[in-house]
Symmetry: C2
Subunit: 589 residues, 2 copies
Amino acid sequence: MARRTEYCGRVSKDLLGQTVILKGWVQKRRDLGDLIFIDLRDREGIIQVVFNPVFSKKALAIAESVRNEYVLEIKGKVVARDENVINKNIATGELEVEVEEITVLNESKTTPFYIEDGVSVSDDKRLEYRYLDLRRPEMTKNFMLRHKMTQSVRNYLDNKEFIDIETPYLTKSTPEGARDYLVPSRVHPGHFYALPQSPQLFKQLLMGAGFDRYYQIVRCFRDEDLRGDRQPEFTQIDIETSFLEADEIQSFTEEMLVKVMKDTKGIDIPRPFPQMSYEEAVNRFGSDKPDVRFGLELIQISDLVKDSEFKVFSGAVSNGGEVKAINVKGLADKFSRKDIDALGEFVSIYGAKGLAWLKVEKDELKGPIAKFFKENPEDLIRRLEAEPGDLLLFVADKKSVVSDALGALRSKLAKELDLIDKSVFAFLWIVDWPLLEYDEEAKRFSAAHHPFTMPRQEDIALLETAPEKVHAQAYDIVLNGYELGGGSLRIHSREIQEKMFSALGFTKKEAQAQFGFLLEALEYGFPPHGGIALGLDRFAMLLAGEENIREVIAFPKNGRAVDPLTKAPNLVSEAQLKDISIRTLKIEE
Amino acid sequence: MARRTEYCGRVSKDLLGQTVILKGWVQKRRDLGDLIFIDLRDREGIIQVVFNPVFSKKALAIAESVRNEYVLEIKGKVVARDENVINKNIATGELEVEVEEITVLNESKTTPFYIEDGVSVSDDKRLEYRYLDLRRPEMTKNFMLRHKMTQSVRNYLDNKEFIDIETPYLTKSTPEGARDYLVPSRVHPGHFYALPQSPQLFKQLLMGAGFDRYYQIVRCFRDEDLRGDRQPEFTQIDIETSFLEADEIQSFTEEMLVKVMKDTKGIDIPRPFPQMSYEEAVNRFGSDKPDVRFGLELIQISDLVKDSEFKVFSGAVSNGGEVKAINVKGLADKFSRKDIDALGEFVSIYGAKGLAWLKVEKDELKGPIAKFFKENPEDLIRRLEAEPGDLLLFVADKKSVVSDALGALRSKLAKELDLIDKSVFAFLWIVDWPLLEYDEEAKRFSAAHHPFTMPRQEDIALLETAPEKVHAQAYDIVLNGYELGGGSLRIHSREIQEKMFSALGFTKKEAQAQFGFLLEALEYGFPPHGGIALGLDRFAMLLAGEENIREVIAFPKNGRAVDPLTKAPNLVSEAQLKDISIRTLKIEE
């Protein structure tokens, strides 16, 4: 093989008249008999190469046998195209290469789908032939972007003297949080490693070890049921520091994110990022990760309807629930009765028993519940800033149901009504988190973030008396309605950590068995510390403008946690199982 | 907390007279009553801070209660030490800080071992308190070095337009090579993922996808019995390229390694690195990863002794084996009969039935086998360049035993006789590898590297007729007697890959079941490709001057694959096992 002199996609006017050697794949071939045009593709783009008996009869003869996706090496001269055949769709569109020599480096069967953007083929087929799917320019670009992102992150953190330290993947199973993936030990029959859900404890121990500023771009594992933005394994930008206050950690996180946005998208994001309390986010947007690129905020009207004759409203309030509304500004005409019924179906997913509605007309409110507002519509109209043409949507229920239902409805409406400016990247800090959440089913508290989160100093006494009132020193970073990352200061004293475990319902013995090593470590000069972890897949997905993290993971699993390419997970031999002293309970499928 | 103005270890003369805020751990405290000296330590080093009622009575009072490993924040003025108390052992030894304010950020119990270099404590104790062990300056330095290494590697590869792409950790079990760690699937009972022994196939598929230049610093997993330089999980600098010849891949690998040596150790390594064939390495050094920093080469004497009356020698030759010697130059006096017997014991580990020896004196050879060389000692003396004072050591056996035994003896002697210049880093390429090795026990061929290695073009026909004669297009990089990495060109045609599987004893069906997805991929325009993988842990160990990779892994497993800190692997609940549809066969210990 000769040495390539340039990528196909980078042949530029600077090379006019020069001889180049290119290597790439046949994207398209047009055979005009004595003249063959091939679009030659590599990871950087496409260039048209031309075969003509005038340049080389031999090359032309070979080009006749070439088909799509053949791998070629060509040598030829860069020339300008005639003006009438300039292709403005590609960067090299004003140029072409006159081929003097060609070598077929490999052949190709007809591919199961075309190698082009926007291909319409099932997800599983794409994953089965992932190596072909990734050849598609839009996919190639996603991974170039992802690499640029990690480069930018590392560059920032290296300059700030963070140290990249690897933590183990074969570690200890902890029952908190999601399900662990387990790994049977061969040396210790009956014992198991667990793949880490995050390196949380190890990064804290590295602070105990004095490393002061740590980072790692690290794989994490959760055996959860899969959703669009979930995968069995995912990647985290993991950061921990000693001796810093929450605002300092937030500040360098912002700096880093601003740099990534600039380096990868050329976009300047102003600092500081806005901050919003957890309570405000849930009240105004029905979500702890609100997309603030559009309005449709949730408006409290419980006080206005608490005595309403409409029992659905007044009953919800008297039962300790609430009534909130969304004003779909000026778009009432777009919604038929059927459309609104469909929205009612939608909110029922979130537990709402119904969706009440009103259309605002010039002199009156219209709709099934209009009669209840006959007497005094002004308060409602003022509160909702309602004007003729508006559609008002109401949910009355338990507070959590109202939030969830209207929060989800808000996002759905924004997408369907195209209210979102996709060129905007809206970063937002959510702060003032509760430390604990009460789990109605389990009848106990669980950690809103994780059990190592530091309570607000002034709330520590409440841990034993009124745990639900304790706030955490935690901060989540949200981007366009997605939780990009979460961080907090961590507990660095055994006493507080024990109180936290106790609030979570651990007995002393259980706490010791699970986390004894951490409790002990906290007694040996553990520094104040805190950090943050950012979801790289989700971040890359958002910057790539994709809607599923599979599009930015090279070899993801499908919705059934299967890799259609290698067929993992698969059956293994009896000998392998015997070696690790386990037996399978049943073989389904 | 106030904001730190400088690391302890970086307080310099530039700060003389200025007020600094430092945070760190108490390394040592000397209480002279009205005067207290504390050595304050952070990851960058140590500075002496002084408490004196003249600076602050309050601070002095607090300092009285402080003990080793307490975490302190201090504020004070940087001053020059009196000349008679300058400490030349530390970088800040000409300075000290007069403390005006002190805050105890955390307390510490007495640590189970001193936080200092060269601590004498069991490995398991060090791992149990790893967060304390890592505070020791020599350990902290190892991880700073390791980070510098990966920074340097990434920097080089990023500049060469390699793209960092993550490959999956939950993948398919393949029976080739070492044992896989298996991960039971919850969603698919009876099915298992495997943790990858390397991302070999995925990086090849990325070449099939057209990424052209890939790298990843990636964890790999092998469930093998542990040795000093083995761990269940280890880290690889993984590289793959398309369209390059072996010499081009070797060339940029050298460039990268030279850069790492310069960036981390300030050492200039000359290029190109020497190359040696596999055969020469085994012949001269008894090893395919020879340490060429010292002599003690293996010298062939089979031709001289094939008719010897010493039947051990002549018999070995007539049985198809050989006789080789090492000349321990000028050091015969250092070896007593007992010492030599011990060496004989040592070579028996490698299957050698004995170690013959001669001491060269002024006019004669001495030793039990001297009589066999009475008649014509000159040939032997000339061949071994023997001079008075030399000790000659011989092994006669099967070729592989002679190599292994003398190769190992050579290394042992060099260490014990202190023949190695530890300031030298000797890189060496081993090339011209055989493609296959015959496994006497299994009575079949196995891949010398892996089943995807490209045979030498001119040897491909031999794959079916004389597989043992086929050479691989492979290149290993050796550093100071350690295999630092291995690389090769890979097979990029289905036909050759099928021949390879067949040579390895796979039926067509087996090959299809295991590697069908690869065989199919090779039919869709797969580019010529090749790469290399370097062991990061080993490389870091060598640059850190350590003898065990545990010293450069933050949280390694011990010799029984246990983490003494978290106690992983551990027992898990019945519910967890039921969830993944497995049962353990027996619970030992």
